[in-house]
Structure formats: structure tokens, C-alpha cells
């Protein structure tokens, strides 16, 4: 694709190393952590605090403090889980899939994108544990020989989901850390303060850039990327099967696995955009995250929105092409009933708003594309609300219909995970190199990136 350069003119391997190290090691005229970081960190900790209180009260009082009940037995807990795990996908798509495709623009984005994946996956992993009636027995999910003689129900998508999330979180951490090793070694050798040298020295594990280390590093990184790409698709397919595997109205559909992959890509690209745009200005990364990156992300964003639109259309089509009156009734109620604002909010924010990205001028206007990204994140949350809550509230039997209103403890848990996400992400931004220096150097030389 033609367009602006992926890196500013005049940048060299040396200038990349110096600029990124200066951001992380706080070298130069301003050796202290900037004020904006402290303000953002304080706000994040405040949000995290609400989550801690919410979880503490949940452990004390039990699930009765939430608004879930029969028939809406899944509420914000599973909604937030699906939302967060979808957000996590963006980093893997950019880091692994586009590595395999050999695109140059990925190099400047992959570190921040992978970090977003880690933080979001961490938030997602909390909810399946908390939504258990007795969360202290969560380890029963592990298939281990036990005196009760019980095993997980391996034919259930919920059991598959456990393996998927376990693998995804663990593999994402390893992929992120493995990719960091050369940059940690650079920080170790560049750091001036003894504390920094010890910190990065221990984390670098003794990586020194020997020919032997690079040979094995390159081989393992490529295979890991080749594994992460299908892994992220499998994870979201399995999350889709959590719903499709049941007989619930609005759920029992073979299109759910790709539908969830499309949604994951949309929210993943949205969160990368929403995070990158302010950080690019705050950390002075304009030379590395150029107009080309914003343009490419905007195009990916638009493409995934069109995929989601296709899934929404197919959802409506298959409902009315089929002959199940309960499915049709549920769909009509979803569009015109009590939760209609949720449905139309989803359509507006996920489908209509991103259409503005057809115009290059919109893609290139940072505040506009940032707002569209934020809108999509809200829209994807609403989409999960309509999938989970509307379906459960309008089951096959009208006598079993109900409604669901989240309580303050569910909202505070959502905001608490937003705090956890921001806190961990800000710590990574502060302590780790925000751009993959070794890959940038290789790209500048024209080598393997």
C-alpha cells in the first residue's frame, strides 16, 4: 500500500535506540516521570480501588449482590469477560498475523499492541473465576486427579474455554516477554543508574546478542507468531461456541464462532487506536508511529466493521429464514422491545459510525478517529449486552421471561477492571520499551523485522 513512510526520514538504528531508551530510562533533561503519567496512574488506581472493594464485598456477601437471577443468569460478569477477551485480540492480530504477512508498519506498533493484549487478557481472566458461586474452588476447572473422582465435562464449550483462555494468557505472556528480551538487554547496557541496570539485567536473562542467541531467537519468534495467529482465532471461536453450544434463543447458531472473531478484531483494533493516539503525542513517538500507521489502522478498523456488519445481517437473515417462532420473537423484541436502545446503539456505534473512515480526511484527523474508536469500544460492550442479556431475558417460554438490571457492584467491578487494565498498561509503558527497538533496527537496515 502506498502512502506516508513507516518511519520519519533521517531516523537510524542509533537514533531509534537513543530515543526509545530515553523514554524508558528517563534520560536527558527531564529525568523524572512526567506529570501526565502520575495523574493517569492515580486515576487508574482509584478505579482499581473500586474493583477491589467490589470483589471484597462479593467474596463476603456472595453472588446475591449482583442483579443476575433466573432467567438472566449471566449478566455483566460474562459480558465483561467476552468484551475484555475481544479487546485483547488486537495485539495478537497485529503482532502475530502481520508478522507472518511481513508488513513493515507492524514493527512500531507491536510492542504496545502486545502489551494491551496482556492487560486486557488479565482483566478477562478474572471474570470467569468471580462468576463462580464459590470462586475459591476455581482450581476445580483444572483437570487433575482428585479424591472426588471427578473430571471436567470435556464435551462442553465451557471446558474448552478454560483451556483456550489458559493457553491464550500464558502464550501471550511468553510471546510478549520473548519479544522483549533483546530490548531489555539494550536497556541493561544503556542504563546509567545501578538500580536500573540490575532491574533490566535480571529481566534480560543474559541476552547479549550473540550469533547463537539470535539464530535461535529468530526461529522461535517466527514459530511462536505462527502459533499465536491461529490461537487467537481459536480462542474467539470457542468463546462464540460458549453461546452457540447451548439451545438458548439467539445463541444456537453456527455463525457464532466467526461472528465473535470479527467482533474481536473490531474491538482489538479499536483499543490499539484509542491507546496509540494519545501515547504517540505524550511520549513523542511521531517519528515511529507515523501517519501511515494511523491510516492503516483506520483501514483495518473499517474492514473489521464491515465484517461485523455482515455478521449482524446474517444473524437477522438466518433468524427469519429459519422457522423457530421463539427466535423470531426474540429478535423482534431485541430490535423493538425493552432493550431496543442497546441494539440500535450497537448498530450506530459499530457499523454506522466507522463508515466515516471511508474518508481519508477522517482517518487522518486524530481526534475524530480516536472518538470513533472509543465509540466502537462502547458499541462492542453494548453488542455483548444484547447477545447475552436479551437472549436470556426472552427465552422460548414467555412465562419464563424476565429482565435484568445490573447493580452498583457489577458496575464497580467493570470500572475496577478498567482500572486494572490502565494500571498495568501504564506500568508497562513506564518501565518497558514502548517500541520494539531490535526490530526497528533490523527494519532500518532492511533486514528481518
Amino acid at each position: 500500500m502506498s502512502g506516508p513512510a513507516v518511519i520519519a526520514a533521517g531516523e537510524t538504528a542509533q537514533s531509534v535506540t537513543e530515543r526509545i531508551c530515553a523514554v524508558t530510562l528517563r534520560e536527558g533533561a527531564r529525568p523524572w516521570t512526567p506529570l501526565w503519567w502520575w495523574v493517569a496512574f492515580a486515576v487508574s488506581l482509584g478505579l482499581l480501588g473500586t474493583g477491589v472493594i467490589s470483589v471484597a464485598w462479593l467474596f463476603y456477601a456472595g453472588l446475591g449482590i449482583w442483579g443476575i437471577d433466573w432467567p438472566v443468569v449471566w449478566g455483566l460478569d460474562i459480558l465483561n469477560y467476552v468484551w475484555w477477551i475481544a479487546i485483547a485480540s488486537g495485539g495478537t492480530f497485529i503482532s502475530a498475523l502481520f508478522f507472518l504477512l511481513g508488513v513493515e508498519w507492524r514493527t512500531a506498533l507491536n510492542r504496545l499492541a502486545e502489551s494491551l493484549t496482556l492487560c486486557a487478557a488479565l482483566c478477562a481472566a478474572i471474570f470467569p473465576i468471580l462468576h463462580l458461586g464459590r470462586p475459591w474452588f476455581f482450581y476445580w476447572l483444572f483437570p487433575y486427579p482428585n479424591t472426588m473422582g471427578l473430571w471436567a465435562q470435556f464435551r462442553s464449550p465451557l471446558a474448552w474455554d478454560f483451556f483456550a483462555i489458559l493457553t491464550y494468557v500464558f502464550a501471550s505472556i511468553l510471546f510478549w516477554y520473548f519479544g522483549l528480551l533483546p530490548d531489555l538487554a539494550t536497556l541493561r547496557d544503556r542504563a546509567g543508574r545501578p538500580g536500573q541496570r540490575v532491574f533490566y539485567g535480571v529481566l534480560a536473562l543474559g541476552f547479549r546478542g550473540s550469533g547463537r542467541q539470535w539464530r535461535h531467537y529468530r526461529a522461535v519468534y517466527a514459530v511462536m507468531a505462527a502459533l499465536m495467529a491461529p490461537l487467537v482465532v481459536s480462542v474467539h471461536s470457542i468463546v462464540g461456541m460458549d453461546f452457540a453450544g447451548s439451545a438458548g434463543t439467539g445463541w444456537h447458531s453456527t455463525q457464532f464462532p466467526p461472528f465473535f472473531v470479527f467482533g474481536a478484531a473490531l474491538s482489538g483494533f479499536a483499543v490499539v487506536l484509542v491507546a496509540i493516539l494519545p501515547l504517540r503525542a505524550l511520549l513523542g513517538l511521531q517519528a515511529y508511529v507515523t501517519a501511515r500507521h494511523i491510516d492503516v489502522l483506520g483501514r483495518l478498523f473499517l474492514t473489521s466493521s464491515l465484517c461485523v456488519a455482515y455478521a449482524y445481517l446474517m444473524d437477522a437473515f438466518s433468524t427469519f429464514y429459519g422457522s423457530d417462532p421463539a427466535e423470531r420473537t426474540m429478535f423482534v423484541l431485541r430490535v423493538f422491545g425493552l432493550y431496543a436502545p442497546v441494539y440500535w446503539g450497537t448498530i450506530i456505534l459499530n457499523i454506522l459510525l466507522p463508515q466515516l473512515l471511508w474518508w481519508r480526511a477522517v482517518r487522518m484527523t486524530a481526534p475524530l478517529i480516536w472518538l470513533i474508536g472509543l465509540g466502537v469500544l462502547v458499541g462492542m460492550w453494548l453488542e455483548r449486552f444484547q447477545i447475552i442479556v436479551t437472549s436470556l431475558a426472552r427465552t422460548q417460554m414467555p412465562s419464563s421471561w424476565g429482565q435484568y438490571t445490573p447493580t452498583i457492584w457489577e458496575w464497580s467491578l467493570l470500572f475496577g477492571t478498567i482500572g486494572l487494565f490502565l494500571t498495568t498498561f501504564l506500568l508497562i509503558v513506564r518501565l518497558m520499551p514502548v517500541v520494539a527497538m531490535a526490530e526497528m533496527r533490523a527494519m532500518l537496515r532492511g533486514g528481518v523485522g
Binding site: 542509533q14 502464550a171 511468553l174 547496557d189 535461535h216 531467537y217 529468530r218 522461535v220 514459530v223 533486514g447
Partner: protein
């Protein structure tokens, strides 16, 4: 052990080639980005993709057999009338465990073959070694004849050279 730093990759490459050609002893290159294999004299691919394949097979096969054992021998249940050995439903967890096995094998194998973690090496005593991950190009030589090795290295204009005890 002699540690020599060069300002350019070309300088290091030529010095390494001459040292290897003259059979001056063990030579290892250090640099801050992935080297072109032919240029630094590293021959052959890594065995780690095969190790990761092995890890994947162990993880996947182990996962499949665990599910088969649990549902046929240890705790058979009638789920929707399916046979006990309903293998299609084992596929998702088998795939996930195969990926997990491969990734863990890759990381563990890398640490083993790359000699990590190793926080200290005698070569670290040379100041110029610190430049390897910062943009200079470093050769570490374990020569049979130290004086001859220094003469060869000096011909390629190193920006730093130091002999350290092993």
C-alpha cells in the same frame, strides 16, 4: 579471551571471517540486531522449530489421551447420547494444549540452547562488550595464539579491544 568492538558490521564480519579462515580459535559475534547468517559465519538452522513441534505433539497427544481416559475409563457420562469416546469434542482442548506445549517447549529450549539465564560472563569485564546491544559490533575470540589474534583483529581497525581472563 579477547573482546574486540567494531564500528561497522562490515569490519566485524571481515575480522570474523579472517579469524575463522586462519583457524585462530573460537569466534563469536555479538550485535544488536538479527545478523545475516551468511555474513557472520553462522551455519545451519535452529533445531528449536523441531523442538517446538515435539512440544506441540506431546501437549496435543497428552491432552487428547487425558480426555479420552477421563470420558471412557475414569468418569464416563452420557452426554446427549454421544459415545464415550466422542473424539470430535476433544479437538478444541487438544489444539489449545498442543499450542501451549509448543510455546513452552520453544521458550525452555531457547533458554537452554542460548545459554540463558546467565547474568555474568567473563567477557562482560571488557567495557566494549556493553556496546554490543547498543549499536557497535563485538567479536569474542578464544584464541590459541593470543598475539596472532590481536594482530589479525588490529588489521580491521577495532574501536576497542581488551583481553580478559576466562
Amino acid at each position: 579471551m579477547i573482546v574486540a568492538a567494531f564500528a561497522t558490521e562490515k569490519g566485524m564480519r571481515e575480522a570474523a571471517a579472517e579469524m575463522r579462515h586462519g583457524d585462530c580459535g573460537f569466534v563469536e559475534t555479538y550485535m544488536a540486531m538479527e545478523p545475516w547468517e551468511a555474513e557472520v559465519g553462522v551455519k545451519g538452522g535452529s533445531v528449536l522449530p523441531a523442538v517446538m513441534l515435539g512440544g506441540g505433539i506431546v501437549g496435543g497427544l497428552g491432552g487428547f489421551l487425558m480426555q479420552a481416559y477421563a470420558t471412557t475409563v475414569s468418569y464416563p457420562q452420557n452426554i446427549g447420547g454421544r459415545p464415550d469416546l466422542s473424539w470430535p469434542s476433544y479437538v478444541p482442548a487438544t489444539f489449545e494444549l498442543a499450542v501451549l506445549g509448543a510455546v513452552v517447549a520453544g521458550m525452555a529450549g531457547f533458554l537452554l540452547l542460548a545459554g540463558m539465564p546467565r547474568l555474568y560472563e567473563p567477557a562482560d569485564e571488557a567495557d566494549c562488550m556493553r556496546g554490543a546491544m547498543l549499536g557497535s559490533y563485538v567479536l569474542v575470540v578464544r584464541p590459541a595464539d593470543s598475539a596472532e589474534a590481536r594482530r589479525v583483529l588490529a588489521r580491521h581497525a577495532p574501536i576497542g579491544i581488551k583481553e580478559v581472563a576466562e
